[in-house]
């Protein structure tokens, strides 16, 4: 989900909490707001049913924490001992699977901050936390209510956007020619783009697991075509460690810019459910440049030839992806 979109979710929930707290006072506002934002910070799961259930269980856990601390307060050392034991268990779970890590810290934050609470503050806090829980669960159900097929389409579009970002990053290296001087900073950016791509792929796979068995094979075919496309795009990056003289790329700067634009436009067309262009006029000039210049002046012409072929294969794979996606949907 984009940063702006998530910030909007936070702002909307904040408005609901604010309105709900108008007649309840600042104490209610702060605890309700805090709990609501903590619950919104829990990373979204992929299942429609698991997501609100996960938030509900964490929210109920927080209410239980308030009660636990209140009941055990009579003996500070016993209270702290039990809190520490529960925290330890949650941390062990959290370092095994990171979806439990945030709830572990929520638990300790709530318990520590309520060590000095009184009965009257408890009676004000529980309704605030409970209201926040209700607001966030309802909000998540209403805003994320969509079929798995629809979620798959959204995730598939995210995947293609990630591929587009990755291919642009590769071409940026070729157009700027300073890869050898700044290899680390380029590789760091590429690493981040690849992580986004793999995360998207991971989510697609999880979504397929939640589909009915009868639909899984057709969606798996879609995923396979996407992975083949991603392998093709990743192969575009091979040129950066095959060539030694980046100044040769100055010769084909215009062609590189046209190629990346062509790839980007075609990917965007597939995202919009339009068929990609089959005409590859922009690559014709690249072919001619290779025939007349690169083949003669470069030390290893084969790498440039393979690079051009890789671009063509990527474009043809985009056509396959488009037909695979539409076939599965119908």
């Amino acid at each position: 989900m984009s940063e702006a979109k998530q910030a909007l979710h936070f702002a909307l929930v904040a408005s609901i909490v604010f309105v709900a707290s108008l007649w309840k006072g600042s104490f209610f506002l702060m605890w309700c707001g805090l709990t609501a934002f903590l619950l919104l910070n829990l990373k979204i799961q992929t299942s429609f049913f698991k997501d609100p259930l996960y938030i509900l269980s964490v929210g109920l856990g927080l209410i239980f924490t308030l009660l636990l601390v209140f009941w055990l307060k009579f003996n500070v050392f016993l209270c702290v001992g039990i809190i520490a034991t529960i925290f330890f268990g949650l941390l062990l779970l959290g370092y095994r699977n990171s979806i439990y890590l945030f709830p572990a810290y929520y638990f300790i934050l709530f318990s520590v901050s309520n060590l000095t609470q009184t009965r009257s503050t408890l009676l004000k806090e529980i309704p605030a936390v409970g209201s926040a829980l209700g607001i966030v669960v309802l909000y998540r159900v209403l805003t994320h209510f969509s079929s798995v097929a629809s979620k798959f389409r959204q995730q598939f579009k995210s995947y293609l956007r990630a591929l587009d970002d990755l291919q642009k990053s590769f071409f940026q290296i070729y157009i700027n020619w300073d890869y050898l001087e700044n290899s680390y900073s380029y590789e760091k950016k590429l690493h981040e783009k690849k992580l986004v791509l793999l995360t998207s792929e991971y989510r697609l796979r999880e979504l397929i697991q939640h589909l009915p068995v009868t639909l899984r094979s057709s969606y798996t075919i879609k995923l396979e075509s996407l992975i083949t496309l991603s392998n093709q795009v990743i192969s575009l990056g091979a040129l950066r460690y095959r060539i030694r003289d980046f100044s040769m790329l100055e010769v084909c700067e215009e062609e590189l810019k046209k190629a990346t634009k062509l790839l980007s436009n075609n990917i965007k067309r597939v995202i919009k459910d339009l068929p990609p262009y089959t005409e590859q006029q922009e690559l014709h000039s690249f072919d001619m440049l290779y025939e007349h210049t690169l083949q003669i002046v470069s030390n290893d012409p084969a790498v440039y030839l393979l690079f051009i072929e890789c671009i063509k294969m990527t474009l043809s794979q985009l056509v396959q992806v488009h037909s695979a996606i539409n076939k599965a949907v119908s």
Binding site: Q6, A7, F10, A14, F18, S26, F27, L29, M30, W31, G33, L34, L38, L40, N41, V76, V80, G81, A84, F88, L91, L92, Y95, R96, N97, S98, F102, Y105, I108, L109, V112, S113, L115, T116, E187, K188, L190, H191, K194, L195, L198, E201, Y202, R205, T220, L223, E224, I227, T228, S230, N231, I234, S235, G237, A238, Y241, R242, A302, V303, E309
Partner: protein, 349 residues
């Protein structure tokens, strides 16, 4: 097995260090806190909740940020006890917590607490500063008592990925020469690779790239990781080459030299795994030069003349295979060099 055992040990150590620090902070707070009882444990937990590898620098940043925000918000809420302002600040910090760091979560919490527990006197602020400083100090002391070895953790997290790469080599060979092959990528292997890189239980040590990671270890570890990622790219290319339907004559000619080459690549990967596991190498490994020359020779026998070779139906996949084989050699040799020059090989468990 090594990974699972170490991972359990790592989880246990990291969890127990935080819990022990929390207990110590609670006990100290009970006897020596001058302000509210929760500041000291909160500061300790804030300082300790850092990822592996960038511990001291990040913890210092957390401690200073936590203290700074508490001081500023205590002043502000004393002068302007506005719930709207506190709520707005909380909103901003929580949005940042979603995208950036766990630190903003603790900062958001501190905003709520400074608003709900306003300063009663000026000296109250100094008492808070004292409690938070003491809490942070407890956290730092625990780092020295329970030190983490990012180099050891790094080694053990990279080994599963090497195993995936060995399996990918095997899959590529079987897929290429299998009569009943399909055109599909191996989702299982891809899934294993993606699991290591990005799943909630991920092993891949991305924290090497973070600022604050040990300056002594960072160059070698970073270079090693870059080469590991480059290997993943090489295997993506191999996966695509394997999808092509080569002619039978081509496959017959390629089988022996390619098998020799891939066997030696597999041996290098296994050797890397052994070195990272701090075991002795069972047998020497080659530099892949001779077997690569054989592969190249065979390909040029199949494609006799470069100028007219593009008429051959297997021309592009064969040239791609040759270049990818060269990339594989260079990357594997770079991995070996990274082991020699970095601190990875020389650190003991």
């Amino acid at each position: 097995m090594i990974i699972n055992n170490y991972s359990r040990r790592f989880r246990f150590k990291k969890s127990s260090s935080q819990v022990i620090a929390f207990l110590v902070a609670c006990v100290v707070s009970h006897f020596y806190a001058f302000s509210e009882a929760f500041w000291m444990p909160l500061a300790t937990i804030t300082v300790l909740s850092v990822p592996v590898g960038a511990i001291l620098r990040k913890s210092l940043v957390r401690a200073v940020s936590f203290l700074g925000l508490v001081v500023i918000t205590s002043f502000v809420f004393k002068l302007f006890p506005s719930a709207w302002l506190a709520f707005l600040l909380l909103l901003v910090l929580m949005v940042l917590a979603f995208y950036r760091d766990l630190l903003y979560l603790f900062l958001g919490f501190s905003v709520v607490l400074t608003f709900l527990y306003p300063l009663s006197t000026d000296i109250h602020l100094y008492r808070r500063v004292y409690d938070i400083t003491l809490g942070a100090l407890i956290g730092f002391i625990l780092f020295f008592i329970f030190p983490f070895r990012p180099d050891v953790e790094f080694r053990n997290r990279v080994i599963p990925l090497i195993q995936v790469y060995v399996d990918m080599l095997d899959y590529f060979y079987q897929h290429l020469f299998n009569e009943s092959k399909s055109n599909k990528p191996d989702l299982n292997l891809r899934e294993r690779m993606a699991d290591i890189f990005v799943s909630p239980n991920y092993f891949f040590p991305n924290w090497v790239y973070q600022s604050g990671f040990s300056l002594t270890l960072q160059p070698g570890h970073r270079h090693f990781l870059l080469m590991m990622e480059r290997l993943a790219e090489v295997f993506s290319s191999l996966s695509n080459i394997g999808r092509h339907n080569f002619r039978e004559e081509t496959l017959k000619l390629m089988q022996a030299p390619l098998q020799n080459y891939l066997n030696e690549c597999r041996a290098i990967l296994r050797a890397l795994s052994q070195v990272l596991s701090l075991k002795k190498l069972e047998e020497p490994v080659s530099d892949l030069r001779e077997t690569l020359i054989q592969v190249e020779k065979t390909i040029y026998e199949i494609l006799p003349s470069f100028e007219v070779s593009n008429l051959h139906p297997d021309f592009y996949p064969l040239m791609n295979l040759l270049e990818t084989a060269k990339d594989l050699r260079i990357t594997l040799l770079n991995l070996g060099n990274a082991l020699q020059t970095s601190a990875i090989r020389h650190s003991s468990s």
